[in-house]
Symmetry: C2
Subunit: 332 residues, 2 copies
């Protein structure tokens, strides 16, 4: 149970209601993850959810589409839904073509997911990026309540962002809006997973930190590598490194905070954002001290930290499914 | 006569029609500048203008408001207008309060221009920032035709920007959207006119260039200072410095191009912009070679220059008045 939903939200408790089903109109929200599929029925007014169907995510887009259809059709009363919102871990164009989905095996080329699923289900299907779904869920029911303009920044393996302006998700014609992980903080700087250099993600994302720490490990032994072993460095390893006052960990996270401060301040200045929400595994694990480190950085970009509040994400239950449903409601 | 309006635009020629007046519905577009006021009647469908009333801009907001009312009421048939759009050289909130107007003498505190003018004229008055008016005019009738998402960047004494997403001007609750001149390119870098450091404007704006060149002049004589004398360095002095292969001028404009490339690339990546329009005195004077220098910079931010086309502004006649009218149409 997630208490944020209850604290000062509506009487109904999104994500927690199992059965009986919703009485009024509902939209189906589906979260397609790298390992699992979750489908729920969402009340568009409150974000309250009923029904809960889970599936493993198979390999290859055509089998994934089969599993999505099955999961949706297993929801009690699915035929009465006003439509479907689907969040996917990839790039999505405005018309629902998923151009790439690197975290799902075998998904190597563009698939017209919205058209295909819509035709098989006989209802409108709106497809959105999973980070965007998280941003919309936070704006409607989480840490973004009360403001119409916000950027949600999720710091995990990579760094993703979702932008809401005037209460509406902004995605752009190519669906690339919010690619804050690939904003340049240091021209010619650290190599980024995308092939570029000096991008935010290379400094603040776990994959970038992992690469940099292992590079240093070749010269001198690193605690984070000892903790992670052969696997990737996890957020808990970083938290442990900070607790143990490990020099490299402290230095790397200071660089991460400085990079985030520069990019967030610049985005807030360019877009007049009153609030930026910070979430994702790294932020969740390091908590408020890391957010404070960002807000107090002397590298904070633009007009500075006075312009914008940095707040932690509420980490809503099933935010992906709830956000996907709300995006669908806006576009249906 | 401005040929851009005619080249491949509508049959009617915005900005050129004097009399007789427009036949159909029209909106009054007013451009309040630091030295003059211009009021015109604008056809919302084509941007075609008729009537042309000019006034000197007096000092102090209450006298300015009197002059605005006079200029508008001198337009033939002004009572039939559907409303007024007014562009001002200052910060404007969403509800038409001009919070500051540094280029107009005596305008030292917030004035509710929209409410005040609206009450005196008996019609709706929409107030917008002049740079935003220029951006909207370019998007509707100039270099932005054909795309729904664009950023217009005007490089003059300072650096201003106007953002159009999904065909609509974005301004933010505080009216600060587009403050690209104060995006940080170099934390702790050159002092900016706003009191900050390392902002784009300090590298690419004429005032920043003027400050930096005069600082260098204290150590060694500078051609740009010889050309400008006691006055500020003008765009034509910069053009002359480049033509004369002056080392400092070339170095300063390379830094300006690099700073613009970093910020424009990052903005295009964050906002998925297919096109950025470049205008303002510096760009107008230096022309395509300067735009090419920006596009080809190795400091181009984010996903790089492949993501976005950089194009020169069309420099439309009376763009301020036309843009103000179009913004009014969208909000009336």
């Amino acid at each position: 149970m997630n208490t944020q939903w209850v604290s000062d939200g509506p009487e109904t408790t999104p994500g927690d209601i199992e059965e009986p089903g919703l009485d009024g109109p509902f939209v189906i929200g589906v979260d397609l993850g790298g390992t699992k599929i979750l489908a729920r029925a969402i009340d568009p007014a409150t974000g309250a959810a009923s029904g809960r169907i889970k599936r493993m995510t198979p390999a290859g887009p055509s089998v994934v589409l089969d599993s999505l259809v099955e999961a949706i059709q297993d929801l009690p009363g699915w035929e009465q839904a006003e439509g479907v919102g689907l969040g996917v871990p990839g790039f999505v164009t405005k018309d629902g073509v998923v151009t790439s989905c690197p975290n799902i095996k075998g998904w190597d080329e563009p698939v017209a997911v919205s058209a295909e699923l819509g035709s098989r289900l006989g209802m409108n299907v709106v497809v959105a990026n999973d980070v965007d779904c998280g941003a919309v869920a936070e704006q409607r029911f989480g840490a973004g309540r009360g403001v119409d303009d916000l950027l949600a920044v999720f710091v995990g393996t990579g760094v993703g962002g979702g932008l809401v302006l005037d209460g509406q998700l902004v995605i752009g014609d190519r669906g690339l809006v919010g690619e804050i992980g690939h904003v340049t903080v240091e021209p010619g700087g650290r190599p980024c997973g995308c092939g570029g250099r000096g991008h935010l993600e290379a400094y603040a994302g776990r994959a970038g930190i992992n690469r940099e720490v292992r590079r240093r490990h070749e010269k001198s032994p690193q605690l984070l590598v000892d903790l992670a072993g052969e696997g990737s460095i996890k957020s808990r390893h970083i938290a442990r490194g900070i607790a143990d006052e490990d020099d490299t960990t402290i230095e790397m996270m200071a660089e991460a905070a400085a990079a985030l401060a520069l990019v967030i301040g610049n985005a807030a200045t360019l877009l007049d954002l009153p609030r930026v929400i910070l979430g994702g595994g790294v932020v969740d694990k390091l908590g408020q001290p890391f957010i404070d480190q960002i807000a107090q950085s002397d590298r904070f970009g633009g007009f500075g930290a006075d312009l914008v509040d940095l707040v932690p994400a509420d980490r809503l239950d099933d935010a992906g499914a709830v956000g996907a449903a709300m995006i669908a409601v806006d576009r249906l």
